[in-house]
């Protein structure tokens, strides 16, 4: 395999400890060219550590990391990076920082000026002449994304890129990431699952330093979501219905959500593999209770369902001995 044919990112058996804390525990991950790859996990799962090793900022205790088939440090010209909390020289303006960043890539002056202008427009910082020290978090984040794109990278690594943004800023960033699909490989870590569902074609779920699931987004969801969900809402208290459902053999789990201003009443969510039976039995049970059925909805499983089931699942001793790649495939 030549370097040009090599995956954008190839991680094998990556392990990293901080003293007694096992931050990464045999991570295997392959990110193909042109994909938009979501790297999700709870806080402390090891997402940032993985990115740091990928960038050559931290040493691995074991395993290998290749970027475009080469050592990560040697591929920095092809990588753009946004840390979770980007730090700037507060005395610079946005255009100065972008010129500084571009100069570190030895861009010629015409290319640099053209990119600076385009990225300032993209980030909405074109007309801002104040120093970066006075920027809001959102402005700093947008500038961070702009500087990560100054070298027109083949691989863009984003650590929690939308966490500091308001809904409009988040939409702008996600739209920008979506536009890069096919041209630039994007690997971004996040715990905002909606962002992943919106723009990613591939996803990896990391928890306690281990990959719990990896692959095409729809495949991961269908493989790990488990039972489908039925959401039922009554015009009164759903406690009796929940009690009756507990005795039904087709019901796997029951979750109640108490009334809020947004859901408008008492909700019951039922996990089941037998949707036809749920359609037949639920109206009967509601009628027997003398309640009114306000809502009956079969909800498709989401990445959130997968995430919750994988991250909250008790560790399986047998699974703990297996490498993620063997249990989940290689992520392509």
């Amino acid at each position: 395999m030549t370097a040009s044919e090599a995956p954008a990112v190839e991680i094998r058996g990556l392990a990293k400890h901080y003293g007694p804390v096992r931050a990464l525990d045999g991570v295997d991950l392959t990110v193909e060219h042109g994909s938009v790859f979501g790297f999700v996990g709870p806080n402390g799962a090891g997402k940032t550590t993985t990115l740091r090793v990928l960038l050559g900022l931290a040493r691995a205790d074991a395993g290998s990391v290749r970027v475009f088939g080469g050592e990560p440090g040697a591929m920095r010209r092809r990588i753009g990076f946004l840390p979770d909390v980007p730090g700037y020289y507060s005395w610079m303006r946005a255009d100065e920082f972008l010129r500084f960043a571009g100069s570190l890539f030895s861009l010629d002056s015409d290319t640099l000026e053209a990119r600076v202008r385009a990225l300032l427009d993209m980030s909405g910082l074109g007309g801002v002449n104040t120093r970066i020290g006075g920027y809001s978090r959102g402005m700093r984040q947008r500038l961070g994304i702009a500087q990560a794109l100054i070298n027109a990278p083949d691989l863009l690594l984003l650590d929690e890129p939308t966490s500091a943004l308001d809904p409009i800023g988040r939409k702008d960033v996600l739209d920008m990431i979506a536009e890069l699909r096919g041209r630039t490989t994007v690997l971004f870590s996040t715990h905002i699952l909606g962002d992943v569902e919106r723009v990613c074609d591939h996803v990896a779920v990391l928890d306690h330093g281990r990959i719990r699931a990896v692959g095409p987004l729809d495949e991961v969801v269908s493989r790990h979501a488990g039972a489908q969900r039925v959401v039922v809402q009554l015009d009164g208290d759903a406690g009796d219905l929940a009690e009756r459902l507990a005795g039904e053999t087709w019901v796997e789990t029951i979750t109640r959500a108490l009334p809020t201003a947004s859901n408008g009443g008492d909700l019951v969510e039922i996990a089941t593999d037998d949707i036809p039976r749920a359609r037949r039995r639920l109206p009967v049970l509601v009628a027997e209770l003398g309640a009114g059925l306000v809502r009956f909805e079969v909800r498709q499983p989401s990445l959130e369902d997968v995430f919750v089931s994988l991250v909250t699942a008790e560790p399986d001793p047998g699974r703990a001995e297996r490498r993620p790649a063997e249990s989940e495939g290689n992520g392509r």
């Binding site: 050559g56 040493r59 050592e71 440090g73 920095r76 990076f81 020289y89 960043a101 570190l104 890539f105």
Partner: protein, 256 residues
Amino acid sequence: MSGSIGTLAGFGTLLRKELTEIRRTWRWLVLPGLLLFFAVTGPVGARLSPELLRSVIGTDANLPTPTYLDSWAQWTKNLTQLGVFVLLGTLGGSVSGEVRQGTALLVLTKPVSRAAFLLAKVVANAVLVLVAALVGTLVTWAITIALFPTVDAGPLLRATAAWLVLAGLVICLMVALSARFSALGSVGYGFGAIIVLSLLSLWGPATRWTPAGLSATVARLGADQSTPVLWPVLTTIVLMAVCLLLGVRTLARREL
């Protein structure tokens, strides 16, 4: 951990950034301002010190007439004491500050060598110190000419040149320390190193052959006295190189 990036990749850009930062932040005010203050007050203090002393101990006191050498002595004393401490204080966070603020992370994930990152700081601060010392020297020289009948600038220039070597050592030491320690820790270790050099200077052979003798050399040169210069300067330059190598090595191995 820097991968296959050129040994000094990015040095020019980083040096320009450092010099611009000095120019556009408080840093250009501190050392040059202080040296300018020394340059003005030193000759005036030397010229007026007999009158000041007589006003305290009485007009009958038999005090020697001050000469331009007293002006040079004020200048060299200020440089070797306060000048060095200001360098310690201002350079303690030169690398660690960037690591703490996250700017190092953005810079060092680009095709830049960590050696260039560190050396740019050393060179930029050396330029600042050189310019400040030159301006201060010219000012103190000019004021001394105005206040004293005869002036020989030779001792002043030789003493300032020797002090620049000492300042170079302090710069290299502090930048290297800040590649490993926090700003406070670097200042603490730097201060400790200066104390060790001062204690060593009490031992004759160390004064003649090692950097420990450089402070005394500056003072003696300013007083137009003969003093061993070659070995204290040479060993100081060697120690500067050692500090730089250790700093580069420390930063190269540091996880960010």
